[in-house]
């Protein structure tokens, strides 16, 4: 039944009917009617941030840790442009967001009005879809459609730009939450015949490997459960991208660790030498493939993806299966039951022997020290002291992010929030905020770098305001460590602008915001201080002073193949000769 409401009321009704409980936002002139409507209700909680980029990352953290759509509300012009980084981030990592932006009145659009920006123009290439709402009577349909598009198929951010007069105008509301879309109908079910061919390849495989990605997480808890069953049933080894960590338990013996640029030796060697690769919800990203023409040269490649445009984008595959991971895995498991008798059991055992050999290389080994904290050790201790708890990890971008991926282990999906595709420094702190909103009792830790964390540090103020006791664990090396590492390896140690000569006193900074600050530089004190952080009821900034010049290994320099890795114990000369000219032009 259609009822007459103001545009602003329609926004809130839609959010209510979509089951939204929390939104992240920042007010301004062009969204005042919506903020007024927010004020007059108490179903939807608004979390006020300190910068619109923070709102988008918080909504991403919320979405990634719950599987729900994250919702953002910002004003026109600078409010919207500040949100662009988070929108682009959500697009590359397939995170469902609905971003509502205010716009100047319809009569003013195109006149360079105060705080006017062409938001649909700016966000067109970095959103899954976007709308400018010109008529209040389209508002309910468009907003419901935005939620549908954001969460279905390959999820992503949808922007809805609402001019101020449309927020005031009276119009009809109807609940469109169950309507589909005229042109957008993602294919969920995989082609049974293709799945049959995949099973035939898997049964005959002598050196198979599962290569899984964020698509498994996006497909939901059920997909993770089915993945476990399929790995169990087949006995195949499994590795995952950065985005897929947690979909399969890291404590399982079939787990090879993460693959790619900073992945383990065994994962990358298995990818390189396999004869059948089963890609489940990953996209052959350049962090994963390394040199394209040397990527897994002898394998038949199966690719399961809900997005048809991911197929054959960078790597030609032999058997594409377009569909939702959970749907496809269910069918695979069913078919495997009858097919498995013909499995190449003996060859598989040989393959495992080979893999165990690579494991013995212990590619994540590092030399610890007693007089200083090694960053790897800090993450290991953080993991050890939090593993029995209900813990969620977010990260910033840099070495600390890779060390977190390598030394913190996840047994469940939706516990690991990181900016993979866009690599956005400043993601982790606000993302932690969003996670904590969704899971108020959980332990939420942002594993941070001293440079990244300063990009969105102001959200500490939001954490204090909303009683969100997030823990910001800074691996403080005083450098933009990852930049410094590349300069060391590729630019003869010319550390151009990668040293932060004037870092703030993070302990005082925490206190200034009303949080708790902790500093530690002695490995002997680390455990106690980590416990102090965990037990604090306040938001905490932990200034963990680590070895400044540590490098993140193993590493496949860009332009190299999977079997051309660098290890922590490589000599300077080996490193110099391992990186070709192609590696210098790569990123």
């Amino acid at each position: 039944m259609a009822r007459t409401l103001s545009g602003a009321e329609i926004v809130l009704r839609t959010l209510g009917d979509q089951g939204v409980e929390h939104i992240f936002g920042y007010p301004g002139g062009a969204v005042l009617p919506i903020y007024d409507a927010l004020f007059q209700q108490n179903k939807i909680n608004h979390i006020l941030v300190r910068h619109e980029q923070g709102a988008t990352h918080a909504a991403e953290g919320y979405a990634r840790s719950t599987g729900k759509v994250g919702v953002v509300l910002v004003t026109s012009g600078p409010g919207a442009t500040n949100a662009v980084t988070g929108i682009a981030d959500a697009l590359l990592d397939s995170i469902p967001l609905v971003v509502i932006t205010g716009q100047v009145g319809t009569a003013l659009i195109g006149s360079d009005a105060f705080q006017e920006a062409d938001v649909v123009g700016i966000t067109r290439p970095c959103s899954k879809h976007n709308y400018l709402v010109r008529d209040v009577n389209d508002l309910a349909r468009i907003l419901h459609e935005a939620f549908y598009i954001a969460r279905s198929g390959r999820p992503g951010p949808v922007v809805v730009d609402i001019p101020k007069d449309v927020q005031f105008n009276l119009g009809k509301y109807a609940n469109f939450s169950n309507t589909g879309h005229r042109t957008y109908r993602p294919k969920m079910q995989g082609d049974k015949d293709k799945i049959k061919q995949a099973i035939a390849l898997m049964v005959a495989a002598k050196k198979p490997v599962f290569y899984t990605g964020g698509g498994v997480i996006n497909s939901g808890q059920k997909a993770s459960n089915l993945l476990r069953q399929l790995v169990e049933a087949t006995g195949f080894p499994i590795t995952s991208t950065l985005m897929g960590l947690g979909a399969f338990p890291a404590s399982d013996k079939r787990w090879l660790g993460m693959l790619g640029m900073h992945g383990t030796y065994e994962a990358n060697m298995a990818m390189h030498d396999c004869d059948v690769m089963i890609n489940i919800g990953a996209r052959f990203d350049d962090r994963i493939t390394g040199r394209l023409d040397a990527f897994s040269p002898d394998s038949k490649k199966i690719h399961i993806d809900i997005d048809p445009s991911s197929i054959n984008k960078t790597i030609q595959v032999d058997l594409p299966i377009v569909g939702d991971v959970a749907h496809v895995l269910e069918e695979m498991l069913e078919q495997w039951k009858t097919a498995k008798l013909k499995q190449e059991k003996e060859a598989l055992a040989g393959w495992w022997t080979e893999i165990e050999g690579w494991r013995k290389r212990k590619s994540l080994a590092y030399t610890n020290a007693s007089d200083k904290i090694m960053p790897q050790y800090a993450i290991e201790r953080l993991f050890a002291l939090t593993r029995e708890r209900d813990t969620y990890i977010t990260t910033e971008v840099g070495q600390h992010q890779m060390w977190a991926a390598q030394y913190f282990h996840f047994d469940r999906p939706n516990r690991w929030m990181t900016s993979g595709g866009l690599g956005t420094m400043g993601y982790g702190l606000p993302a932690a905020l969003g996670v904590q909103v969704a899971h108020p009792k959980a332990l939420v830790i942002d594993i941070a770098g001293d440079a990244s964390v300063q990009m969105t540090m102001q959200e500490m103020s939001s954490a204090v305001q909303h009683n969100l006791p997030i823990k910001i664990f800074i691996l403080n090396n005083e450098y933009m460590g990852m930049v410094r590492q590349w300069q060391e390896l590729l630019h003869e140690e010319r550390y151009s602008h990668s040293y932060t000569a004037a870092l703030p006193d993070f302990v005082k900074l925490a206190e200034a915001y009303g949080g708790h600050g902790i500093r530690c530089s002695d490995p002997a004190e680390l455990d106690n201080k980590i416990m102090e952080m965990i037990e604090s009821p306040l938001p905490v900034i932990f200034d963990c002073r680590v070895e400044k010049l540590a490098n993140c290994f193993p590493m496949i320099p860009s332009g190299n193949a999977h079997n051309e890795m660098l290890f922590a114990d490589a000599s300077k000369d080996d490193i110099g000769s391992a990186i070709g000219e192609a590696g210098k032009t790569g990123v």
Partner: protein, 173 residues
């Protein structure tokens, strides 16, 4: 980003794209080309359904077969897009273009221009003692050929619609 195969031939492809006629849809489609630094040789777009809900976009673009397959999949992924067809993959596609040419001159050149126009079955849609405007329909190649012939005869300007294309037979595309 690296493209996979390098030994493929670059050829002109004619993509026909059926879209919901909503604001910004053309910009979305074109943005995929411009954002990747790819050129468009010709572009036509018009509403095609009475209810004004559907439009048909025809894009001629050069590319290797794998690039064309990729960009087609990415265009098809856009929310308001119904279908994308590469009509140049079919032998029997009907291609048409329309051009208006203004030719100015006197004496021998003028006679020659008119004679050639007749041979090409171009219509005279405007004329004075000093100029003609010719209208010419046909495949792009024919139009280009006619333009070349008119150049020495006083060609003043050219307007071309860009290619439209349709498959033979009873199917929709």
């Amino acid at each position: 980003m690296t493209m996979t195969t390098t030994d493929e031939k670059i050829e002109s492809h004619t993509l026909t794209i059926l879209v919901d006629n909503e604001p910004g849809v053309l910009a979305r489609v074109i943005g995929l080309f411009s954002g990747r630094g790819y050129n468009i040789e010709s572009l036509t777009v018009s509403e095609i359904s009475e209810s004004r809900e559907l439009s048909r976009i025809t894009i001629v673009t050069p590319g290797t077969p794998s690039f064309i397959a990729k960009i087609s999949a990415q265009v098809e992924r856009l929310i308001p897009v119904h279908r994308v067809y590469d009509l140049s993959l079919r032998e029997d596609t009907i291609f048409r273009e329309l051009a208006l040419l203004k030719v100015a001159g006197k004496g021998e050149n003028r006679v020659e221009a008119l004679r050639l126009a007749e041979a090409f079955q171009a219509d005279v849609v405007d004329a004075s003692l000093e100029h003609f405007v010719f209208e010419l329909r046909g495949r792009s190649k024919k139009i280009t050929q006619f333009i070349e012939l008119m150049k020495p005869l006083g060609l003043v300007n050219i307007v071309r619609t860009g290619v439209i294309a349709v498959s033979r037979g009873s199917e929709r595309m």
